[in-house]
Symmetry: D2
Subunit: 468 residues, 4 copies
């Protein structure tokens, strides 16, 4: 599986100045699976904003020295980044920290605007200059632009939301307020919680609230704006429309951490159900069920329970292979270094192999080969998602269907290409079993909840070039 | 579980000069679980030895720039280190590279000499000076000392082995030979394999041979010396005595990777058996079985199969918490950042919790509390090892029984201290089911295969001090 | 002397794509004396801009790996920074790289706008957001704002210059053009040169053109805009007004490197003349003349020649004391570590000590004490500048007269405070001997060539804060 | 001038535990000119030795974090290293820290043993193994070997000195004593001083004692051993023989810092005398005298005074070019980046150019060309040393005469090769004017004070290789 994760956001609001950078750091550790390319924290020390951000993992960027350099504060926000748009440059690492006519604002964002290109064109024509190629800077411009005409930052945000189309889970910080908002479709997750001492926590996933020592209160509703000030929390719901809810179903299948609960559904449970559904729809006579770690494991157990075929934990992922992994001399064998199999378990066995999804098919092919080389007699591939057929404009890293194996091959052809003895996808109609609410499955069925952008290339801003 | 792993060694011998540093690097990635504190590689480029070693993970020390700086060579050795003896200093990182009367020698070592203190005293009295506080330097002195009186490096090694007591799996390299040896008890694993192009690979565990693209040929026999030269491989067996075999049973329970096969037994199978035995000896009426990742997972599946109680994969380990993990503001909650539980799975459930072993009991206590806070009604702890009662002198990081909870408390007291509703250890007599050969279980039963050293403190060499 | 230097800019334009990042790097090495806090390079590879910048020295930021990562290009610009405004944050390191409606622009700037605060207020009210607190971003906004209304980037720059007041020597790069401009007063130096292969070089000082292998063609005239394209160089002179010339006289005294020639005057010659003038105006009966390295040396030789008192090179500056110099245990003695004296030379001697200027007087005091402790019988201080009495708004790091010793003490009092036996400043009327053209000496006489800003505090943008 | 400097040593002994690492660090900053490749400090905290050492400058290795990690102590030693022998490996960075039968010893060393190869052979035959290829490890073995047979470490040192031939200025530290020694010839400098609080300081040069806040007491005499304990200082003189004094004359000419006083002679004065002698012996009709910075400046002033030709400070050395200087695109012009000339000063002038010495002649050639390109009409080269004709075995980095231009060319040929209009060396018989005592000038006249080693190659230990 090689779709990449997207970003994670975190925020904290305390009654008294506290070591809030460490709280955010703890939250970012728990959200690291949502982005490993860069991370940042901005602390609000009574109106002064102190920022540290850099490419790298939380453990690399926020060493003891970096954390010690932060002041105490009553608010802070943080971000972990996977570059879905905006390139890999250090300039694009969030939170974004800007100065505008009414003061300072820090902003962390997860998602993608479907109308980013149009908004950017309009802003540039009015004189805006851009330091980054990320959507976040567009969002910042629209909010601060509205701020000149409105009475408060939350009014400005609400006005700006009239113009955004697409996915955005935002955390933003002004000198005196911590604010979060989720787009009216609720594509990306966002929730808040509380610690016993009254501290508020905002996070992309509930696992980060638990890690930071809080209890989940509830999800931020699609369209909702929450404003945290010294006087407490205010909810604004003018953008909430129940009928627009379209949570990204792929968050349950792959992105989120299994110990998170999103919109009332445990991710772990959702994956068990995916496995159970696969067993119903694509049964097979086999000796054992294996899950591709980490996201295929729960579904494998679900398949095992429903089918009665024993689950085996016999695929090992090397947890020390980091981002900077050096390609060894025998290049074709990278998967062999990242994944291995306990041969005694699979020798002469008929194996059901569960993975979360298939994008290009190359990784699947190598994993099937690994099992065959270890002696597996048959390998029956079962996939927790329907075939990927359409690009995503809301944050998943698929910007065209060019490389999607399912867009160009039948199921039978795909099985043959990856070397599997059989292949079964989760049918689109079964996705509803994975979520309590309505959801977006546009990458599978092409039903987009928003208008489709003209230029969907991820590097559209990088490409722009004109002689001046 | 907080017993720390020990070291891993790797070696490669090719017919033609090749990029052997990358092959070793690949092997070290697969052995990283045996030591995360430091690592090193020495390449033999036609008699010139080029070395790079430093504290840190393989991915940190061997970035592309470091690997590019190595020349091609026909031999190389490598090491990953966990500091069981010798302190954390950079000077102690292996391989050790020394110059002596007959040339150069590089040495990588896994294990601990039980008679290290005596040997060191004797060497110092004859004028030796020591740069490190590790056993490896003692081994180097004895080999090079014998080398002055013998016709070959392998003769010198064999003579030196007459004097070693304890655990040592060695890989050493002279200008023209690659040699490995395993102590006559065979405390620590060591095996060799071959690639299709004839390249020989030596590794602490078979998983590293697979990762490097080779096939396991066999284990190095306890007491055996293997010499690899341009003319092929020679086996010397003058120290092999079948009746002395005493493989460390804790390698199966905890140290080794499940996809390794050691002395004919798959580590994965051995752990499944441990779980099955626990189910036989300590049955309990419960709703689900959970394993503490990573080493408790296989036994949990074994317990589940034997008992019929469903296995749940509902304890999540944060894989991004590295060595440099920063302690957050709420210090008591570190385990909450490293481990988390999917609450929906355990709420109101009676849980069987499987861990590999209990040392001090503090981690167990926190994990049990985590489950209770997540709503578990009962937590029944089952442990894949007997109670730890005695120190180990052969490489496991337990140098006295002072902090061993089982040495000071009954099973019932321990259960109460860690908050479990019941507690069951694997009985000593069941250990034989985990191994095909005879084994060392001295840490459980006090039956030491060698003489017991006078001073067993790990820092005995650091403490030494005299006015001169 | 503790006034800090300001920034340096560099640009290169080649006929054919070349390794222009190395050419810029060479130039920045030669300009490093103008700023040690950060540096950056942007290469223009056929319209794609590749940037690398970071806090640190050129030798730290542009190691081999960083230079190798740059593509070939036909244009590049670079910057070394001393933070006169804008704080020390990484965000403020230049060149600034922005995207606007007509494409990309990279900008490097030396100087300070006197009307920065007013311009920024106006921009913010029209919706602009600021990532940095430097003047450079204001300049970028005004140029790109004009670009929407003009036919070319150079027209936009010319229009924007109508609004700038103060000091700016600019190098900017669009996808197809390299442009440089100097403010109509010409406060800061800027010149261009050519290599034998036709490559154009732009630099703050001529020493950088020589270092990069070129020959100085001439200074950019005050108010001039030069545009380099594939078709050659165009000069625009609509902002050139001979009567406005006001070159910063302190560049000759302190900032510039002695081997540079600025506006027709060799800096080395200018300093020799300062020393000669001091000897005329403040003669003294003494045994030797010493210069405080490095900027006092030339004037000391000038004084020696005019007075006949022998020059001695007996004050040694430790060239290994870097920016990260660790304060030792005896804090008062920092000057002793940075500077030392050959005792045999000064023992029992009457010394004339030449320094470039006196700001607070603390460093002078320590140097005089150093000489007295080394046995000097008398120390007669001679200063190559008049007394500092007024703040500078054009780039020199003096934002108020609060700490200026001369603003609060007579010459006699100052001599006593620093421990000197006599003290003589260069009279204001003698400054004209140091320059061929008219100059700005506002910091000495208060005659400002522009309007005086309302808020002159360097951290005025950092301080801004409002509840929103 | 491209002969490289050798090492520097420093030691401190206090009555009460103090922050001695900072004192050593200050001293090493002042000795940095003697070696820039690596440095280290060992602190003695009541018998526990804490060490930090690494390749790099003092400012790079001893950042605040590194200094904070040191404990307080009553003794510490330090070292800056230029690799005259032993290769560039990290293992060779000093101080050397070893454990032997009587405890621990730390050792820092400046110089080279002429009989190193013989001593090493003997040690290896007795079983010694070597981690490094430096002389320091040989010295450590001989001292600790004697320690087994003697009553004290200073007795052991004295016995060991019977076997050393060549140059060594040593500082060593046992758990209770700080000891320093200088070889009987006194090739390399070594002195000690005192602070007002009674702290003793030992240093290679007196400039480091001043920097650390002490006063020079006197030089350590050739052959003398000084022992510092809680009871005070003891001097042992059994190896002192007045007639053997042979201080390296090249220390005055090039190695030492001008503000140091060595064996009663100010280095600054010594260089002024060299210049005066050159003016006597090689007068020329010229317009100005220029010195190549930094070591040629004093002699240039001496020449100027004696000849009456004006001195000009018109050659500028770029002080920001560090060890990691990146070679630019136009490789031939490296000297142009490191050195520059104020053209107005030399145009159409007849120049006397003073440098400290000529080794290969390549740097001289480039400097002469630089002056000619700047318009100098004539360049008359004057050199403060006689022609280099013989290798040095005592620490100067000339291990054979193969590349010495003077060994293969007459003075006239050399002048032509380097492009000078005339060339004059300081005659050997004039060297006596530079020193108060007898000196070694073997590199000029071949009169070696010790036996000449058989194998004089610097890399003799690296080359050693045998099949075993």
């Amino acid at each position: 599986m090689s779709i990449h994760e997207e970003c994670g956001v975190f925020g904290v609001f305390t009654k008294q100045p506290a070591d809030v950078s460490r709280t955010v750091c703890t939250g970012l550790y728990a959200l690291q699976h949502r982005g490993q390319e860069g991370c940042g924290i901005v602390v609000n020390d009574d109106g002064t904003f102190v920022s540290h951000k850099a490419p790298g993992l939380v453990s690399e960027v926020f060493h003891e020295q970096a954390l010690c350099a932060f002041p105490l504060g009553s608010m802070a926000i943080g971000h972990v980044r996977y570059a879905t748009t905006g390139g890999n440059g250090a300039a694009n690492v969030q939170p974004l920290l800007v100065n505008h006519q009414k003061g300072r604002m820090a902003l962390a964002h997860n998602g993608n605007l479907a109308n980013a290109a149009k908004l950017r064109d309009r802003l540039e024509l009015s004189g805006a200059i851009f330091h980054t190629t990320s959507d976040t800077e567009i969002i910042a411009y629209l909010i601060t632009g509205q701020r000149l005409k409105t009475a408060s930052i939350e009014d400005a945000l609400s006005k700006a939301m009239d113009e955004f189309e697409g996915a955005y889970s935002l955390v933003l910080m002004s000198p005196g307020k911590l604010i979060c908002a989720r787009d009216p479709h609720g594509f990306r997750p966002l929730c808040y919680g509380k610690k016993e001492d009254g501290t508020y926590l905002i996070a992309s996933e509930s696992c980060a609230i638990s890690a930071a020592g809080g209890r989940l209160v509830r999800d931020v509703m699609p369209g909702e704006i929450l404003v945290f000030t010294k006087d407490g929390m205010i909810s604004r719901t003018e953008h909430c429309h129940q009928e627009e809810r379209k949570f990204c179903i792929f968050e349950y299948i792959y992105f989120a951490r299994p110990d998170s609960v999103i919109d009332g559904m445990s991710v772990h449970e959702s994956r068990l159900k995916a496995g159970k559904n696969l067993a119903d729809v694509h049964p097979v006579d086999a000796d054992l069920v294996i899950g591709v770690p980490d996201s295929g494991l729960d579904a494998a157990i679900g398949y095992s329970r429903a089918s009665g075929i024993p689950f085996e934990n016999c695929m090992i992922k090397n947890k020390y292979i980091g981002r900077t992994f050096i390609v060894p001399d025998h290049r074709g064998d990278q998967v062999r270094i990242k994944l291995s199999v306990t041969e005694s378990s699979v020798k002469n066995k008929r194996v059901v192999l569960i993975d979360d999804s298939i994008v290009r098919g190359t990784t699947c092919q190598r994993i099937v080969r690994l099992l065959k080389e270890a002696g597996a007699r048959e390998v029956h591939m079962r996939v927790c998602a329907p075939p990927f057929l359409h690009p995503c404009f809301y944050g998943t890293d698929i910007d065209s269907s060019d490389h999607l194996i399912a867009a160009h091959h039948t199921v039978e052809e795909t099985a043959r290409l990856i070397g599997a003895d059989s292949l079964g996808y989760l049918p689109t109609e079964r996705l509803k079993d994975l979520s309590l609410h309505s959801y977006c499955s546009a990458c599978f069925d092409g039903n987009y909840p928003t208008r489709i952008p003209d230029d969907t290339r991820k590097d559209r801003f990088e490409r722009k070039l004109s002689e001046i």
